[in-house]
């Protein structure tokens, strides 16, 4: 049992090392691409005719939203992975994805009102389905983080968090489809089949999207390695206490 525990610790440490190595490789390109995104959003992209310069927040708002959706795939897969295998690596992946998802969702819900007030003269329209479903996602993320601290360490905590995370991730397709299912004032600029934007705006949007994707990857890999290190340290201390 002790030997298998040590083998597991070594395997987890190797996984943490791999995550760190990849995040190290991606870190400098992330910085450069984000600088390019700032240049593209503020200087390269043309000014929108009706809304003016305030529309430039679109590049950060939409990119953060799309990447947060992608991050919640990690929450879903991590939850399913843990429930099937009971391997805590999957729990670490899910919890780290929620951390990054919370950060991105907060960006979306901060930039949204900043854009909405000058454009539509309202900070937040609470009865708008997309705003409401996005807010539900933020509340689920916060509840997930609170849930993790409330439960004592053990399978029950990881299983409950996995189920909660899966339910939270199921909100993402609802957010995406909300503008099609219900009446909304939220503009539908990007759909699966077309992007209703000027080509230069599209290019700026793509650079911003790449920057946010890389940033999310760096944050996710760092969070996973921190959680794995934490897990290994706790296991070592537990083993030492048991030996005494």
């Amino acid at each position: 049992m002790l030997l298998s525990s040590k083998a597991l610790q070594i395997s987890r440490l190797r996984s943490a090392g791999r995550c760190l190595k990849i995040s190290g490789w991606v870190l400098v390109p992330t910085y450069l691409v984000m600088l390019a995104a700032i240049y593209a959003a503020f200087l390269y992209a043309p000014t929108e005719r009706v809304m003016g310069d305030v529309q430039r927040i679109f590049y950060f708002h939409v990119s953060a939203a799309i990447v947060s959706f992608a991050v919640f795939i990690g929450v879903f897969l991590g939850g399913i992975g843990y429930l099937v295998t009971r391997d805590r690596f999957w729990d670490s992946l899910a919890a780290s994805s929620v951390d990054v998802g919370l950060f991105l969702t907060a960006i979306v819900l901060t930039t949204g009102p900043i854009w909405s007030k000058p454009a539509w003269n309202v900070w937040l329209k609470w009865d708008d389905p997309r705003v409401l479903t996005e807010l539900i996602l933020l509340v689920i993320c916060v509840a997930y983080v609170i849930l993790r601290t409330a439960f004592p360490e053990g399978h029950r905590k990881y299983a409950v968090c996995a189920v909660f995370g899966i339910i939270g991730a199921l909100d993402v397709p609802i957010i995406y489809m909300s503008v099609h299912w219900w009446n909304t004032f939220h503009p539908v600029v990007i759909t699966m089949s077309e992007v209703k934007l000027d080509p230069m705006m599209q290019q700026a949007g793509l650079v911003a999207l790449s920057a946010f994707l890389l940033l999310a990857l760096v944050l996710l890999l760092q969070r996973v390695s921190i959680r794995l290190h934490d897990m290994i340290t706790k296991d070592i201390l537990k083993n030492l206490r048991e030996q005494e």
Partner: protein
């Protein structure tokens, strides 16, 4: 527009420095944990596996 570009660049650079420092600290934690696990492993291999007296000194 220039002040917005400057503000975003400064904030992003600060965030990047934070990420870089976190990454370096993580690397140190990684090597320390590798050393600890290596020490535990070598001490466990040196001790008699049947006696249950394997101890680790992490000081």
């Amino acid at each position: 527009m220039g002040y917005l570009v400057a503000a975003y660049t400064v904030i992003w650079t600060l965030l990047f420095i934070f990420l870089l420092l976190t990454h370096r600290r993580q690397q140190r934690v990684q090597s320390e944990l590798e050393a600890i696990l290596e020490k535990i492993k070598s001490e466990a291999e040196g001790a008699d596996p049947g006696s249950g007296t394997s101890r680790t000194n992490l000081q």
